[in-house]
């Protein structure tokens, strides 16, 4: 079952079109929503929560039409906003307990769940301190805790690593990566492509309010090109490959080989036939950033 389905989804703020004809069918898992600032990520997240009503098209979350039944959707969804959303004068424990009650959990269960998730995000010791005394990293963890305290089926994370130092970022990504294992579907909105690469198994790229690409991350970086470095002269090896139907390109250090099929086997046979010495062999891959930037060049 699709967790998110959009059909011709569009939204405009006056004359400014934020989303334009979005067609998405997303199954469960950890989904990355990437795009530059202003690409429409936050607008999409707000529409998924039923905070914004789309001006065009429709959206369903867990098969529930969001515009018609937003409260049903919100009962099953958690949300971690990008910007500050924590009361400075409350302890993390009290606030997360309160947010659990806001999702309909009974008082006692709320307190227990708050304690559990604060421990999970690494704030067990600090949970009785006022949030105003927290570092940025601790605040981000508290935001994540409130997003999952009611055991949602889907959690929407808006720039979860925003403002974090490198260690804090790694910690947060590690936590986000663990959510899938708890049976929680995750949509992470970010403009940091490496964060998406590190945590997600599906990526939706937005650009100017349109879907640039939606697909699994695993196949996204594959290019079908094999990179070979030799310790011996390259000409006999390249000639053998081209004689056998592969195309090659040499940049002075690496030979890039593209074969219609069985590329690695062809490289192996070529190495044996030409008695070439192999230094390095790997499949050429590309990053999300390469793909994203490649679009505009």
């Amino acid at each position: 079952m699709n967790i998110i389905e959009t059909s011709g989804l569009g939204h405009a703020y006056g004359d400014v079109v934020a989303l334009h004809g979005l067609e998405l069918e997303l199954e469960g898992g950890t989904i990355g929503l990437v795009g530059a600032n202003g690409a429409g990520k936050t607008t999409l997240v707000k529409i998924l929560l039923g905070i914004l009503t789309p001006t065009l098209g429709s959206v369903k979350v867990f098969g529930i039409p969001v515009a018609e039944r937003p409260l049903e959707v919100r009962a099953r969804v958690g949300y971690m906003p990008e910007r500050d959303c924590l009361p400075e004068d409350q302890t993390a424990s009290d606030f997360v307990t309160y947010t659990a009650e806001l999702a309909g959990l009974p008082k006692k269960a709320s307190r227990q769940r708050a304690s559990d998730v604060l421990t999970l995000v690494g704030l067990h010791e600090e949970r009785f301190r006022p949030i105003g005394e927290f570092s940025t990293g601790m605040k981000q963890r508290t935001k994540l805790a409130q997003a999952i305290v009611h055991d949602p089926d889907l959690v929407l994370l808006d720039e979860p690593t925003s403002g974090l130092d490198p260690q804090g970022r790694e910690d947060m990504l590690s936590l986000v990566g663990r959510l899938g294992g708890f049976g929680i579907n995750v949509v992470t909105s970010s403009h940091v492509l490496t964060d998406i690469e590190q945590t997600c198994d599906w990526v939706v790229m937005l650009d100017g309010g349109k879907v640039l690409r939606s697909g699994p991350l695993s196949g996204l970086g594959q290019t079908g090109v094999i990179e070979v470095e030799l310790t011996s002269p390259v000409d006999p090896f390249m000639a053998w490959l081209e004689a056998n139907g592969a195309s090659t390109h040499y940049d002075g250090r690496v030979i890039f080989v593209r074969a219609e099929r069985n590329g690695f086997e062809m490289v192996r046979d070529g190495l044996t036939a030409t008695e070439s010495g192999l230094r390095r062999l790997r499949e050429s891959s590309t990053s999300l950033e390469d793909i994203f930037m490649g679009r505009s060049t």
Binding site: C85, P87, E101, L102, Q146
Partner: protein
């Protein structure tokens, strides 16, 4: 050689899903209301957050406690000592203190949520903007009404306990006073609460909002007084600007007392003051909904 077990082991308890029931929207509404009560009274917050609300409550209750104490020793102690002790029909000090309490309570209920971004958390939970606003207004209602009624309840129970006519007789004889006091308190709540909410809608911090509300309320009396007394052609209508005078005028009407309020002196009937209060409540409701729709 034996090896000691490592100490200080951290056990990762993992993630335990919630398997119990989920309560409905009504429970969520009361959670917001309860949070409002705790926030204003400084409960589960630092000690300094408790000082102002509790101090105001103590100041409000002291006259009643003193009155009850004196009545315990003086059988013929008269309740009606205007300006000295709080009484059912006339509680001038109490109204002033209630105004200060409301000035601080209403902004405290809505401004921090808005300015600290907590509204985005509410927006992700199964409750509507109207639910949130009604719960916050409900919290203000409970607090201000309790604030106004508590001193009178202390008097009611205290005087009954010391009454030479007997406890039950006193309660029955003065039950009507308590009902009238409750209605008058509701009128004060509607006036102060609405005006304070309007200020809180546009302020970014609690203290300036409270100051602006107090200044506005007393300023409205001064402006209305000056214009009305100037004898200007439309001066009579300016008497209606004196917002704190309206609940006082209506209260006097409820208790069938003669008072000294600007609208009264200008020749208006008390129902006009009641109408002004109802219009104020309606305007506040519309402004709040418009403001929060824009925020969403």
């Amino acid at each position: 050689m034996t090896q000691e077990a490592p100490s200080g082991v951290v056990y990762d308890l993992g993630y335990k899903p919630h398997v119990g029931e989920l309560l409905g929207r009504r429970a969520v509404f009361f959670a917001v209301l309860k949070d409002g009560l705790r926030r204003v009274m400084g409960l589960r917050r630092r000690a300094r957050r408790k000082v102002l609300p509790w101090l105001l409550i103590i100041i409000a209750v002291i006259p009643s406690v003193v009155g009850v104490g004196i009545s315990a020793f003086t059988a013929d102690f008269q309740l009606e000592l205007p300006g000295v002790f709080t009484t059912y029909g006339s509680f001038p000090q109490l109204a002033t203190i209630a105004l200060l309490f409301t000035a601080f309570a209403a902004p405290e209920l809505v401004i921090p949520d808005r300015e600290q971004g907590v509204m985005s958390i509410y927006a992700s939970r199964p409750l509507t903007t109207q639910d949130y606003l009604l719960a916050r207004a409900g919290a203000l209602g409970v607090l201000v009404l309790t604030f106004l009624m508590l001193p009178q309840l202390v008097m009611y129970i205290g005087f009954a306990a010391t009454s030479p006519d007997g406890f039950t007789t006193y309660l029955l004889d003065h039950f009507g006073d308590m009902v009238r006091a409750l209605v008058a308190s509701l009128v004060y709540l509607a006036t102060f609460g609405s005006a304070a909410f309007i200020v809180a809608l546009f302020a970014k911090r609690v203290a300036p909002a409270a100051s602006a509300f107090i200044a506005g309320m007393y300023g409205s009396i001064i402006v209305a007084e000056i214009i009305t007394e100037s004898g200007a052609s439309l001066g009579k209508w300016f008497s209606l600007l004196a917002l704190p005078m309206h609940p006082q005028f209506v209260r006097d009407w409820i208790f069938d007392r003669s008072g000294d309020t600007i609208p009264d002196r200008a020749g208006f009937d008390p129902w006009v003051s009641l109408l002004v209060i109802l219009v104020l409540v309606a305007v506040t409701g519309v402004l709040i909904l418009r403001r929060y729709r824009k925020l969403a």
